[in-house]
């Protein structure tokens, strides 16, 4: 696994010099959805859901991916697995069996193999489980499809998975309707973990859950990460949850990555004005009145018809002429801290205020 020590790369986003290359490296990922009109379904434009995104995830860590609804974070997560095929770009994954491969270029046969190692869990535990399948069928489905196990062995592995996520193996013959939201999320997790993967895309896994259940699932995700050496791409919009679970956080705005840094740095010293606004908008469970928060004006840009220059400029309080015409690049401003802003170097932005 470590024979490749590829420290030189053509990409501007590059991991810290280290022995291992990142487990996942995404370069210039794009996903455009065509807008079709009329009888002949003429393509009149594109919704640029993901528009040139670069990031990497190191082995064993959690990268949080945040942004407003419609910013392309879910699409990014799905493109990484090629659940939907990206329009362009590369997704380099360090597969334990196949070595470093570009997932976005794989064909069906190879994708089945790589998806043993890259899996996904979904937001809605009610919609993501087939109500007509028993837990055995649901959790066993990936094992069967990938010819990993069958018969008694399959049953044993399903039982083991259910135990791992905190469900009783005796429930194996039951259907999803018999379970609560939190338990269903555990079932989804068991299904994702059944083929013993390396990497998990978690698409808003706790957003639909109550506070007390959310805490249970977050803890379970952390426990499993330590036990099984998992790596997570954690897509969510709740910033407190993301801060809690992630080592590093990436922020998206209208299909582009605007900032990526360690959780600590991003929350305390954000370098992009959009991140600053996000930080200030977090509702805090503390009744102490705090400083006036930064309220964004206007609406999120339309990804089918984005503004010129920096997409954030119509809402940005620090806007200058250059922002209106030229798109900034996603640069490493300090080690491991990437930002896409013309004024990143000069601005002194405030992070989450420390009230303690």
């Amino acid at each position: 696994m470590t024979e490749q020590t590829n420290t030189h790369s053509e990409s501007q986003v590059q991991a810290q010099p280290q022995v291992q290359p990142p487990l996942l490296e995404v370069k210039a990922l794009k996903k455009y959805f065509p807008i079709q009109r009329g009888f002949f379904k003429r393509v009149v434009g594109h919704v640029k859901a993901v528009d040139g995104v670069d990031f990497y995830v190191n082995e064993g860590e959690t990268l949080g991916l945040v942004g407003e609804s419609g910013c392309g974070k879910t699409t990014t997560g799905r493109c990484v697995l090629k659940a939907i095929a990206p329009s362009s770009g590369e997704v380099w994954f360090q597969d334990p069996q196949m070595g470093r491969i570009n997932v976005s270029a794989l064909e069906h046969e190879q994708l089945i193999h790589v998806r043993r190692n890259m899996r996904m869990i979904f937001q809605d535990p009610y919609a993501s489980l087939n109500p007509r399948m028993t837990l055995l069928e649901i959790v066993g489905a990936p094992l069967r499809a990938m010819n990993i196990a069958s018969g008694k062995e399959l049953e044993d592995r399903v039982a083991e998975m259910l135990r791992r996520v905190g469900l009783r193996p005796e429930y194996m013959r039951r259907y999803p309707h018999a379970f609560s939201g939190g338990q269903r999320q555990r079932i989804g997790l068991a299904r994702a973990l059944a083929p013993n993967p390396k990497f998990l895309v978690c698409d808003e896994p706790v957003s639909a859950l109550d506070v007390s259940v959310q805490a249970q699932i977050l803890n379970l995700l952390q426990e499993l990460q330590e036990e099984m050496g998992l790596t997570y791409l954690f897509v969510a919009h709740d910033l407190s949850v993301v801060a809690h679970i992630s080592e590093r956080v990436a922020v998206m705005y209208v299909g582009k990555m605007v900032e990526m840094a360690t959780t600590h740095e991003l929350f305390l010293t954000p370098r992009h004005p959009y991140t600053e606004a996000l930080m200030s908008a977090i509702p805090r469970p503390d009744p102490t009145p705090r400083e006036k928060r930064i309220l964004l004006t206007g609406e999120v840009a339309n990804p089918a018809n984005p503004p010129s220059g920096c997409y954030f400029h119509p809402r940005c309080t620090y806007v200058q002429d250059i922002c209106k015409t030229e798109e900034p690049t996603f640069d490493e401003i300090s080690p491991g801290h990437y930002v896409k802003c013309h004024r990143a170097a000069e601005l002194n932005l405030s992070g989450v205020m420390n009230l303690a």
Partner: protein, 354 residues
């Protein structure tokens, strides 16, 4: 208007749903007081009865739900002078849901903002037409005047180009704009009480921040009371002055917002506060990971009737023989800090909790 003028009072409210599988005691003996011009926050997890309490107050309980017992009293101000105000007492719990009196109150003096702005508006009529309908139903004004008022209220909720928005359909607006339009509709008749049921749950953080700010501004401008229902403790901290925590159809703790966060007494409130990721805490750890504290088990199924305190199977401070047998009474541990828990049984009104 005096600061402590009581606007609405809920006493021992019980709203039950009789289903084939059994009786769901959605609201099971709730007491709440809503003061004029103040914000009462109601927190709890799904199924705790917070929304049904609000719907009972509006006489909008969906079938087969029924208000079984209790009183909902609404003190309607009829005449207001500098020093005195006379209140006209309306027993909402005695009114029929579709009675003339109830319909005159609903949407007029007491109005509601729902979680899903798209579901709260009719997709086939323009935003303006829906607001005008409310205005013309409750106030004797001409169509032109109603339209003028609709545009005025739309601009007050800070929608740009209100004169254009008035003729748009809900689907043409973004989520945040739609929620503003729904708030405009709720405020169009200048209500005394606005019930907001998770109004920002479906919105993004930045949009949520805008809507919360807007609601606070409008409250100062119009002086209405807000009953704010949410499961988000962060939002409660920002919006509410008084907080009631609900669990399985009962208010388990109620006090002012500072005490609920600084000095929570009920084990459920304490556990709830500990189970949310706290940003300050995360930052102080500087990258080191930690587990959240959880509440063991889960909310029991709604048909079950637990003996004693309904939180006892999950309570870390469970006392055998007491909590599982006796329903805890409401105890005023400190002035204006009430809690339903046996731990405080020995406390007189002045005793400190710890």
């Amino acid at each position: 208007m005096s600061a402590d003028h009581v606007l609405a009072e809920i006493k021992n409210l019980r709203t039950y749903f009789h289903l084939a599988e059994g009786v769901v005691r959605a609201v099971d003996g709730v007491d709440l007081t809503i003061k004029a011009g103040r914000t009462l926050g109601i927190v709890g997890e799904s199924g705790c009865g917070k929304s049904i309490t609000a719907l009972s107050l509006m006489q909008l309980v969906p079938s087969p739900g029924k208000i079984e017992a209790g009183e909902i009293t609404y003190y309607r101000t009829v005449h207001r002078t500098e020093s005195t105000s006379t209140a006209d007492v309306v027993e909402i719990s005695k009114l029929k849901p579709n009675s003339r009196e109830m319909r005159a109150i609903r949407g007029n003096q007491i109005s509601m903002v729902f979680q899903e702005p798209m579901a709260a508006m009719l997709p086939v009529r323009t935003v303006g037409a829906q607001i005008m309908e409310t205005i013309m139903l409750h106030q004797q004004v001409s169509k032109e005047e109603a339209r003028k008022r609709a545009i005025d209220i739309l601009s007050r909720v800070k929608l740009p180009n209100a004169d254009r928005i008035v003729d748009t359909y809900p689907f043409q607006l973004s989520g945040g704009m739609r929620q503003r339009a729904v708030i405009a509709m709720a405020l169009s008749c200048n209500p005394n009480l606005l019930i907001a049921d998770e109004p920002t749950t479906a919105l993004d953080v930045t949009t949520e921040a805008q809507i919360l700010d807007l609601m606070r501004e409008l409250q100062q401008e119009y002086g209405m009371a807000i009953m704010y229902i949410t499961h988000n403790l962060g939002v409660i901290a920002e919006m509410a002055q008084e907080v009631a925590v609900m669990y399985m159809g009962k208010v388990v703790e109620q006090t002012d917002v500072t005490s609920i966060f600084r000095n929570p007494l009920h084990p459920y409130t304490q556990a709830l506060l500990r189970s949310i990721p706290q940003l300050d805490d995360v930052m102080a750890r500087a990258g080191k990971k930690k587990r959240l504290e959880t509440i063991k088990g889960m909310v029991p199924d709604p048909y079950s009737v637990l003996p004693g305190c309904s939180f006892h199977p999950r309570c870390p401070q469970y006392m055998e023989g007491v909590c599982n047998q006796v329903v805890p009474a409401v105890i005023e541990v400190e002035p204006d800090h009430i809690v339903r828990c046996h731990l405080y049984a020995s406390h007189s009104a002045n005793a400190r909790a710890n």
